[in-house]
Symmetry: C2
Subunit: 235 residues, 2 copies
Amino acid sequence: MATAEGARARARIEVTAAIKDEARRQLAAEGAARLSLRAVARELGMVSSALYRYFPSRDDLLTALIIDAYDSLGESAEAAHAKSAGAAPARRWVAVCEAVREWALTHPHEYALIYGSPVPGYSAPETTVPAAARVGLLLIGIVREAHRGRGLAVAKLPAELEPEARRMAADLAPDLPPGAVAALVAAWAQLYGLVGFELFGQFHKVVEDRPEFFRHAADRLAHGVGLVFPRAEAD
Amino acid sequence: MATAEGARARARIEVTAAIKDEARRQLAAEGAARLSLRAVARELGMVSSALYRYFPSRDDLLTALIIDAYDSLGESAEAAHAKSAGAAPARRWVAVCEAVREWALTHPHEYALIYGSPVPGYSAPETTVPAAARVGLLLIGIVREAHRGRGLAVAKLPAELEPEARRMAADLAPDLPPGAVAALVAAWAQLYGLVGFELFGQFHKVVEDRPEFFRHAADRLAHGVGLVFPRAEAD
DNA sequence: GTCTATAACGAGATAGAC
DNA sequence: GTCTATCTCGTTATAGAC
């Protein structure tokens, strides 16, 4: 029984993966708005109703693709973070930013799925939140590391933003100064502005040496959050 | 004959506007990927072939909507810029950024059309460039104003970025220091990161007081570009 | 219980004849 | 410009194989 159940489970995992792979292929070709369960089934030699054993609806398939994309991005970012262990927080920040950019360039359609325009008629359920938070948590961790090592220059905050900054800090990182958390959230959004503009073509005929341009912008973002670069090298 | 021709021209303009209005409505409901000439025609009580007298293809209709969106955004930004005449460049910068944000919040689907994921199978022609450049030109103008008034703190550039910064400056604003141009392009992209995150829901349960958060982030962007705030008030 | 296949629904797009 | 015949879609009900 154990082997039979194992075989069933294995087959189920394989078919699920095949469905998602084919769906990703269609994502690239047609976009998320035109993702079609029937087309996926047809391409796999299945009948459309059979897909419902694996995904209860088209939206559930979309949700699975979104979570996979966030997880894939999160893994790349976490790998870059781990690889940079021992380096100054500002360097680790840049390393993670560059990993985000590289993942986006190698997975443009999945990037568009999670950070591009919302899919009409689809609204992401709360189950996507943990995967979506991975990169943010990594960035918070880097700032925390700097804070503990006294390598964080805390930004001054205008009085009007202080309540909001306190609220964000309480939610996201109660051990960090509110000013740093507010700056971090802004930098997080701005990082995706840089990536999105490059990926979606706004830098066409504007920025040519994009890796270098991005590296410098990521540097400046780290600086804006209060991460101090080692004296010997920069800043 | 003059009146007849005038009437014809007027009718043509009216029908063209009606087509674009209906197309915008569908953009909101279905997304750009699903924009269908037939559906537009049906809704207007026309037959699909009649639409081709006004737009030779779906892509041409899309292009017209994109140019309209860029122009509408550009007008809003330019109006905010004009209204801020006399203020310090840093203040004008923030005013323009806030106008971009407000336009995006009131025109979410048109924002998604121009700054969101690319429409699969569609590639924007060069004719969209002038409209797309309006906000960028405005920001360059603000930095230029500061530079002329000696209110621009030019950012130091790492040696690796200098050739690219020079190239960008030669293309975009030969009268400005390359460092300022590079910082400006980055800030421009980052501005849209902030706007996109708010609009596309990434700030859900993260940022609550979004106007204040955005204003502060725009302030910091101005600072990053080298715009100096009047001593009496901020910085 | 787990899965696939057949058939069907209502809605909408599409192509072509007229 | 109109009509119709034929596609697509998401989804469900049902029946039967393993």
